[in-house]
């Protein structure tokens, strides 16, 4: 293409359209209503002295509260680890060709999803009433280790068992859904290469299932973070809410301490959001042609159209 032809083409290009945009009076009215409501809420929060913001500030980094935060994080992390490992195991069992194995997985899930978490927690708390002594050994044979249930399962362990075993049932369904989302062709291709069942599970199916598993698992983790406050009923595990309740029952300042608790839960949840974003990106590899869309680009980009590049 010669230069004259090029310039001719440029000259022939029509002007960019500059039209008068459509007015949206409805949007303006709606925005106005929202702003008024928001402003009145903010005003009430700031001016109502009963929020006792100075007390909130005073207790936000109180050592007892910080200790409670630590226990809450520990409970969440450990329970989720138990839940996820158990979930993978139960999901693999559920998909086993052996009816006894898949059946027992089904039974487990049925039981732990079918009873309230709070009831399960209380059960674990009172386990010593059910099994005063715990013996480890050969079933129906001699036992090697004897222990008192109360010493073997203190409050914290009871809480972990309660949360972890319950979570396992929910995670099992999430993991199973993830594994079923991986096409049969993947398994067949791996089989035709001579790979065994477990290797296929670990190297082919699970890594791909992760993409489907992670978003609901993030949900579960956030639920778990907040559900750990149920340990209040065990009364020997000093998590965030329990520590706060100890303070306010002595000082009669429930509202500011509940605000402290909410601030901490919100902060921890926000951290989980960030973590989930990075894990999702890790397991999204190979599923999108646009590799590595940064968080920055996600927030800043896709606003308006990309700049038009003239390739004439």
């Amino acid at each position: 293409m010669s230069t004259s032809e090029l310039s001719e083409q440029r000259a022939g290009r029509p002007d960019e359209i500059e039209a008068v945009p459509v007015r949206h009076p409805g949007r303006w009215i709606a925005s106005f209503v929202v702003v008024v409501i928001a402003a009145s809420i903010v005003r009430s929060v700031i001016t109502n002295p009963r929020f006792q913001w100075h007390t909130v500030g005073h207790y936000l980094f109180d050592p007892r509260i910080l200790h409670g935060v630590r226990i809450t994080i520990e409970l969440t992390v450990l329970s989720m680890i138990i839940g996820i490992l158990l979930g993978v195991l139960l999901a693999v069992m559920r998909l086993s060709p052996n009816p006894l194995i898949s059946g027992s997985s089904w039974l487990y899930i049925w039981f732990f999803r079918g009873t309230p978490l709070l009831v399960q927690l209380l059960f674990w708390n009172f386990i010593s009433a059910l099994f005063p002594r715990i013996d480890l050994g050969i079933p129906f044979g001699p036992s090697f280790i004897h222990a008192n249930a109360n010493t073997l399962i203190p409050g914290f362990v009871a809480a972990l068992l309660g949360f972890g075993l319950n979570e396992g049932a929910y995670m099992a369904e999430i993991v199973r859904a993830g594994m079923l989302s991986v096409g049969e062709g993947q398994t067949e291709a791996a089989q035709s290469l001579g790979m065994g069942r477990l290797a296929i599970m670990r190297l082919i199916v699970l890594p791909q299932a992760m993409r489907v598993i992670i978003p609901p698992t993030g949900n579960e983790t956030i639920s778990m973070l907040k559900n750990t406050s149920l340990v209040l009923v065990i009364a020997s595990v000093f998590d965030l809410l329990f520590e706060a309740s100890q303070i306010y029952s002595a000082q009669f300042n429930e509202i500011p301490l509940l605000i402290v608790v909410s601030i901490w839960y919100l902060a921890l949840t926000s951290v989980l959001y960030v973590g989930q974003y990075f894990i999702e990106r890790r397991y999204g590899r190979g599923f999108s042609r646009q590799q590595r869309v940064t968080m920055r680009a996600r927030w800043l980009g896709s606003r308006g159209n990309p700049p038009v590049t003239d390739t004439g």
Binding site: A190, L193, G196, R289
Partner: protein
């Protein structure tokens, strides 16, 4: 010639009440290329999958390289092979699928390296060299670290061929390898297969590519309704078929 690579005698396969294979008997010699043709639902793909034990046969005898597929014969009785041994047998047979079935979470070279490293226990370095070499041979030397999603269908299928070859199979099975491809991408895949045939690989190819079958195959088989209607040299079966059913099919395909 010595023992055939694949020997099938009266092979039957049922899915529930539906009989898909109704007695398939044929032989494929070492180094031979056999093309299987026929309308969809005729049982070609099922037969291919039986050879690799992705499906279990219900009756008849099927053997690869002189050994029964999926069973051991002992004292006049058939014993099912344990999963481990079946996997070992599968490792010696390469298979290429209609929809490629590449592992999307791995790059091209990782797809090719996977089985040598995990199944054949080759060292990563050696496996990598060989995988790069194979990808080079199918014309993808510049795509080693590309994920399948960024490859065209034809490129994906060539990675799949390299992946199957990485286990140094003694037999290659192709299940409609070009059926899911855009017409202009078919050529590259067929070239890779042609090269393979020239190198002396024993191949069974389920295909609708008449040109390829006529040019490359040593034997052509026409199947319909779960039976072999006609088998023989490609020019016999494809150019001057004896059976009406074959003639009718070919007149529609060509």
């Amino acid at each position: 010639m010595s023992e055939p690579m694949v020997k099938s005698e009266g092979v039957h396969k049922r899915f529930g009440q539906l009989e898909v294979l109704k007695g398939i008997s044929l032989e494929v010699q070492r180094g031979e290329v056999m093309c299987m043709l026929g309308p969809s639902g005729s049982g070609k793909s099922t037969f291919l999958r039986c050879i690799n034990h992705l499906e279990k046969i219900n009756a008849g005898r099927l053997s690869v390289d002189g050994e029964l597929v999926g069973y051991r014969e002992q004292g006049g009785k058939l014993h099912e092979l344990p999963e481990r041994e079946i996997a070992g047998k599968r490792a010696e047979i390469g298979m290429v699928f209609q929809h490629f079935n590449l592992f999307p979470h791995m790059t091209a070279i990782d797809n090719v390296m996977l089985a040598p490293v995990r199944v054949a226990k080759v060292s990563r370095g050696d496996a990598r060299d060989r995988a790069a070499d194979l990808l080079e041979r199918v014309g993808l030397g510049d795509k080693l670290d590309t994920y399948p999603v960024a490859l065209s269908g034809g490129q994906q299928q060539r990675v799949a061929i390299a992946r199957a070859l990485a286990m140094q199979p003694k037999l290659m099975l192709f299940d409609e390898p070009t059926s899911a491809l855009d017409p202009e991408l078919v050529g590259d895949v067929l070239d890779a297969m042609r090269q393979l045939a020239r190198d002396g690989m024993t191949m069974i190819v389920v295909t609708h590519e008449m040109g390829f079958a006529r040019e490359v195959a040593d034997k052509a088989v026409f199947m319909d309704g779960g039976v072999v209607v006609e088998a023989g040299r490609p020019d016999e079966v494809l150019v001057s078929p004896q059976h009406e059913r074959t003639k009718a099919f070919l007149s529609k395909v060509l």
